[in-house]
């Protein structure tokens, strides 16, 4: 017999009882459906304590490493502190260290947080303009390598938050952000696996973070990054990535430019075909990270899955444009 702590309340767990059944018994309204560890409706997160391995069966590595588990198949043997799966609302004050335009419409913002702040490269944060309006931006920095958080902000025409960040914010200002979230990040494990990263526009931000993180964690397999852009000028980290490819033998940088100046001379290859080519015969065992424009990300996801990639190995972060036209 042990117990769990949920919403500051201690709840006893009987021998062989699941967390879900104990919570329901105590009148907590926990979403659930199959109660067989399959549908994942009852996903919760442990913030302290040991989660039984079987309670994480079928979850993505990135969720496992953050303590996520299925309440219906979790029979804890030792005390657990648990929260609902989306319950990370704490805000942090971040000071602007750098505010620099990488090209005409991509702003590089570097932020410093004095409090302890933990994240995985490739996750995203919510950034608050005021008490009501927030947008999500992906992290391009790597926790262990960088002394700051880096965001790439694309200026969206009429975008409330992106224009505010571009025009009103300057070095030394303080911005409110939330804890990092999302499951699109690198986890060590099979270090020889091929990593295939593809993104459009500022979908590059999380991908750079993931690639640097994987290299720093000693990933041994090939890492391919494809940056898709409308024009060559949109390849806003071109030089940095070329240098990275020179420095690390296993890192390969590919570009996919939609409209070349030499339209007639170049047969354009679609980004999904390029990704399939790069994946080659390793496709079924490779890990995919797909970020940026939601339509393209979802299309790539479907194509890779149909070509034989396992959904468990596809991590994605589709960028949604907020209803008022602001980048999220």
């Amino acid at each position: 017999m042990t117990h769990i702590i949920y919403k500051d309340t201690r709840i006893e767990i009987k021998e062989g009882q699941t967390v879900l059944s104990a919570l329901l018994e105590n009148s907590y309204d926990i979403p659930n459906s199959c109660r067989a560890g399959v549908c994942q409706s009852c996903l919760m997160q442990a913030t302290d304590g040991e989660v039984p391995v079987v309670a994480q069966d079928g979850l993505k590595d990135t969720l496992k490493s953050q303590g996520y588990f299925l309440a219906c198949s979790c029979k804890p043997e030792t005390p657990l502190h648990i929260v609902d799966s989306k319950n990370n609302q704490q805000q942090y004050s971040a000071r602007v260290l750098e505010h620099e335009f990488i090209n005409d419409y991509v702003l590089r913002l570097r932020l410093k947080i004095e409090q302890p702040y933990y994240y995985h490269a490739g996750q995203f944060i919510n950034l608050w303009m005021d008490k009501k309006i927030s947008r999500s931006y992906s992290l391009a920095s790597v926790d262990k390598l960088d002394d700051f958080l880096e965001l790439h902000i694309r200026r969206i025409p009429n975008g409330v938050v992106s224009n505010w960040l571009c025009d009103e914010i300057s070095i030394g200002d303080t911005i409110q952000i939330q804890a990092a979230t999302g499951d699109c990040f690198y986890t060590p494990g099979s270090s020889k696996q091929k990593l295939l990263l593809a993104g459009t526009g500022t979908g590059l931000a999380p991908l750079i973070g993931i690639a640097r993180d994987a290299l720093a964690q000693g990933h041994k397999g090939e890492i391919h990054l494809i940056h898709g852009a409308r024009f060559a000028d949109d390849l806003y980290m071109h030089q940095t990535l070329l240098k990275m490819a020179e420095k690390y033998n296993q890192f390969h940088y590919h570009t996919n430019v939609l409209q070349s100046e030499n339209l007639l001379s170049i047969e354009h290859q679609s980004i999904d075909q390029q990704l399939l080519d790069v994946a080659g015969s390793d496709l079924a065992e490779s890990k995919f990270y797909l970020c940026g424009d939601a339509d393209i990300v979802n299309k790539l996801k479907t194509k890779m899955f149909l070509a034989g990639a396992s959904m468990k190995n596809i991590y994605s972060d589709p960028f949604i444009i907020a209803a008022d036209g602001v980048n999220t």
Binding site: S33, C34, A36, Q40, D57, F305, L306
Partner: protein, 121 residues
């Protein structure tokens, strides 16, 4: 005598079957129109629940769930021919995984037993 679920291979078999099955469904022009715009990961989890059920495994699916879950699809023209196509894809998946013909028939029978709930009649 072992149960159908045990003979097929239990949860590992569900895990092995689900992606093969879903790929077949998404590639099948007779039915893939019903899957446009759905979240693929959520869909895979739902398919796992479905496969667990038709494999005779532990589940709490009810006729009501089946009706509610397919109501909007029936309104969009879901009919017997589509259910047939799904069961066909299911059979091909199991065949690929080496499941015995009698067991495949039993799975199809379970799937057919919820046909009226799925089609809301």
């Amino acid at each position: 005598m072992s149960s159908l679920y045990e003979r097929i291979g239990g949860q590992p078999a569900v895990d092995a079957a689900v992606e093969i099955f879903y790929r077949k469904v998404l590639s099948d022009d007779r039915i893939n129109g019903f899957f446009g715009g759905v979240d693929m990961e959520q869909q895979i989890n739902k398919q796992k629940g479905f496969l667990t059920m038709v494999f005779g495994g532990p589940n709490e699916y009810t006729g009501k769930d089946m009706r509610e879950g397919h109501k909007h699809l029936v309104a969009n023209g879901l009919n017997d021919s589509h259910v047939d196509a799904v069961i066909e894809n299911l059979g091909n998946t199991l065949q690929e995984l080496g499941v015995a013909a009698e067991d495949i028939q039993e799975v199809a029978d379970i799937a057919n037993s919820v046909r009226d709930d799925i089609l809301n009649r």
